[in-house]
């Protein structure tokens, strides 16, 4: 029992009816059940009436199983899947970093190596847009620290399983 109970991060993909209050219901559930939520993203799918939430939770297998079962009980939740394994996970960050005439070139070069894009330039700062998985974003953010990060915004993760598997309404 103990070896499959180790703590780690799980990514859960949730299809929900696109109705007011659904997000509140989900967050209320997490708070009440004492589930540890790391990030939560919401957006619509190809169908306007259905949204997708991607939820990253911290916990052992038993807790994640409970999270999924309890989510499933919410009336407006249509489908809950664990997509931790074998999936493409992406996150978008915007980083505003200090830039002087001496450092600007180096920052742009680093951004290029990470396939980031400069989306705003001002006298003494740059905004860089970057997408990627957690490791890539962490590495880039760490590199930028030396220049001075003035502001940072992350979207939280979205995920999709590779290959034939789909988490959709009528698979």
């Amino acid at each position: 029992m103990s070896n499959n109970n180790k703590r780690s991060k799980y990514t859960i993909s949730v299809l929900v009816e696109n109705k007011p209050g659904v997000l509140a219901r989900v967050s209320s559930l997490f708070r009440r059940r004492n589930f540890n939520i790391e990030s939560l993203t919401v957006g619509t799918t190809d169908r306007e009436d259905i949204s997708r939430m991607t939820i990253v939770v911290n916990g052992d297998t038993k807790m994640v199983e409970q999270v999924m079962k309890q989510l499933n009980k919410l009336i407006e939740i249509i489908k809950v899947s664990d997509v931790t394994e074998n999936s493409v996970e992406r996150e978008l960050v915007l980083i505003k970093v200090k830039a002087t005439s001496e450092t600007r070139g180096e920052i742009v070069e680093l951004a290029n190596i990470f396939r980031g894009r400069v989306v705003d330039v001002s006298k003494d700062s740059l905004i860089i847009e970057l997408t990627g998985d957690e490791d890539k974003i962490r590495a880039f953010v760490n590199l930028m620290r030396q220049f001075g990060i003035r502001e940072l915004a992350r979207t939280g993760k979205v995920a999709m399983q590779r290959g034939e598997k789909i988490v959709a309404l009528n698979p």
Binding site: A24, E65, Q66, I77
Partner: protein
């Protein structure tokens, strides 16, 4: 037609006969519409009581109970009732008025975000944003409340929607893509369960409230007789098998009998049906049924594996699953195990001191012996546990108690609900003096509507159960548990409301008082039983201890 009229018409279409509630500005249109309806409205004196009454109605009858409140304070008063129904999976629909849509969010007079407040204590809730959502939401609310694992549903209706014109087309079907209770039970798991049952030498059935909710009592009794296996019940499962049945060991857990707790500890197989393994039932889960494999049958997949490890999970409706199971198991004699249980039964019976003092256990025994068909509701505390121990429930839905939330003040209004469902039956609220005071105003409701509920107060002038814990675990430091009200006259209070009051001080007066009370059919009766003040509930498994670590009293 007006939104309000559509609401009332929809309720009529749902077969609603009785509504409990209190009006107010935000729901006044609906009450106006109710004026022309055949539906009986019971005007309670507190919204908490209205919701408990709807809950009691549901628990007694199996039909969905309905309550109305106005917005703001009316709605927030309903919260305890909703949480109580939620914890015990009772199907109720509560309709609350809300301020007009144009004022929502502006802290208008009597505005409260009741859907936000009740999200974690309802199975589902609605706020009606558009008139066209009104009727589908009512349809869905009744469907959701009563299917799968039942529970309370709240519908919050802004006042302007009750006043404007809506087209009345009550849906025949619901469209809920995310809600599909699994009722069948997986055949493979059922087969595995049957196999375990056949292999088992010391099986025990643990029956919870789910058996009663799914009307699976007949199947449960048959299962017990076929295996054969003894049945222990949770508090909520009381009545799922007649407690006079030779295979029934009564209820188990913190105040269950020694023999029930020993049987559950020593068995090699637990067949758990419709129970969520509450901590009051299992004791310390680490030492729960240490030698046993566990089969868990429940309609709510989230309950399986939540509190205890499970060897065979079966998601499905108890009635369905038990019927399937019955087809593939057969009788096997297990003499040694039966003898063992029988010897525990004789060695450790439920008992209390029999002398000339007025003891609550005796009173409850007499209630059962004089009127065995009585529906019993309870308050919370010692009174509840004595009722659970000494009232030998004969049929499902006869014993009604707040198990999950443990709500003082539940029993009396729940009794009103049960009495409305069964006007011809006797309904007794076994009460504590502390609990009864929490909804005592409902005596007015009973007098107003000729509801002959009996309230049997086990009056110990204490918040007795808390006092018992203080005695046993806090060195008799009776902090804030003594209700210094020796002079208080519950009988006079009852009379003041227009009901009947009786005082009983000696065991010899018990029968006469009960018989007198059962004769009265048009008014509430309060019997103030002045019981032994320091009587404790035994046996007792201290919180967090294993089910075989039992404290016993002296006799």
């Amino acid at each position: 037609m007006r939104g309000a009229d559509a609401i009332v018409k929809a309720l009529e279409e749902e077969g609603v006969k009785t509504i409990f509630g209190i009006p107010g500005g935000a729901i006044i249109e609906v009450y106006d519409a109710l004026y022309d309806s055949q539906i009986t409205h019971i005007l309670t004196r507190h919204e908490q009581a209205a919701v408990h009454a709807a809950d009691g109605y549901a628990r007694a009858s199996g039909k969905t109970g309905v309550a109305f409140t106005t917005s703001g304070p009316g709605a927030t008063n309903a919260v305890t009732g909703l949480a109580t129904a939620y914890m015990d999976s009772s199907p109720i629909v509560v309709l609350t008025g809300q301020v007009p849509r144009s004022l929502i969010g502006y802290d208008a007079f009597q505005e409260a975000d009741i859907t936000g407040i009740t999200m974690p204590i309802t199975k589902h809730n609605y706020i009606i944003h558009k008139p066209e959502e009104l009727l589908p939401s009512i349809k869905e609310a009744f469907y959701i409340a009563s299917t799968g694992r039942p529970g309370p549903v709240l519908i919050d209706v802004p006042k302007d929607i009750t006043a404007i014109d809506v087209e009345y087309n009550y849906p025949k079907k619901v469209n809920l893509p995310g809600y599909k209770p699994n009722l069948k039970g997986h055949p493979k798991q059922i087969k595995r369960a049957a196999q375990l049952i056949m292999e088992s030498e010391r099986p025990i059935i643990l029956a919870g409230g789910g058996v009663i909710l799914s009307n699976a009592s007949d199947e449960l009794v048959k299962l017990a007789e076929t295996i054969p296996a003894h049945v222990v019940t949770t508090l909520m499962g009381k009545g799922s098998i007649p407690e006079t049945h030779p295979l029934c060991l009564g209820f188990v857990g913190m105040h269950g009998s020694k023999y029930a707790n020993y049987a559950l500890t020593e068995c090699d197989l637990v067949i758990a049906v419709g129970t969520r393994f509450s901590d009051r039932t299992t004791g310390n889960v680490e030492s729960f049924a240490p030698y046993a494999k566990i089969i868990h049958i429940d309609v709510d997949p989230a309950e399986i594996g939540k509190n205890v490890r499970v060897d065979v999970p079966i998601v499905g409706d108890a009635k369905n699953v038990l019927s399937s199971l019955l087809k593939i198991i057969s009788y096997k004699k297990r003499k040694e195990w039966e003898d063992r249980i029988a010897s525990w039964r004789t060695k450790y019976p439920l008992r209390y001191r029999k002398d000339d003092k007025l003891r609550p256990q005796y009173i409850i025994e007499r209630i059962f012996e004089i009127e065995p068909d009585t529906i019993v509701t309870t308050e919370v505390g010692q009174n509840q546990m004595w009722a659970a121990q000494y009232f030998k429930t004969k049929y499902p839905r006869q014993f009604i108690s707040s198990g999950g939330l443990g709500t003082m003040g539940f029993g009396f209004p729940a009794a009103i609900g049960a009495q409305m469902a069964f006007p011809e039956k006797n309904v007794v609220d076994v009460a504590g003096d502390g609990s009864f005071l929490m909804n005592i105003q409902e005596l007015a409701t009973c007098v107003d509507f000729n509801i002959p509920v009996k309230i049997a107060i086990m009056n110990n002038q204490f918040l007795g159960m808390v006092r018992q814990w203080q005695e046993l675990f806090y060195k008799e430091r009776y902090s804030a548990t003594c209700l210094r009200c020796k002079e208080m006259r519950f009988d006079k209070i009852a009379e003041g409301f227009g009901g009947v009051g009786i005082v009983v001080e000696r065991p010899s007066e018990v029968d006469e008082a009960l018989k007198e009370a059962f004769e009265i059919r048009d008014r509430p009766v309060v019997i103030d039983f002045r019981v032994e003040r320091l009587e404790n509930v035994y046996p007792m498994v201290p919180a967090g201890a294993g089910l075989n670590q039992i404290i016993d009293g002296e006799y």
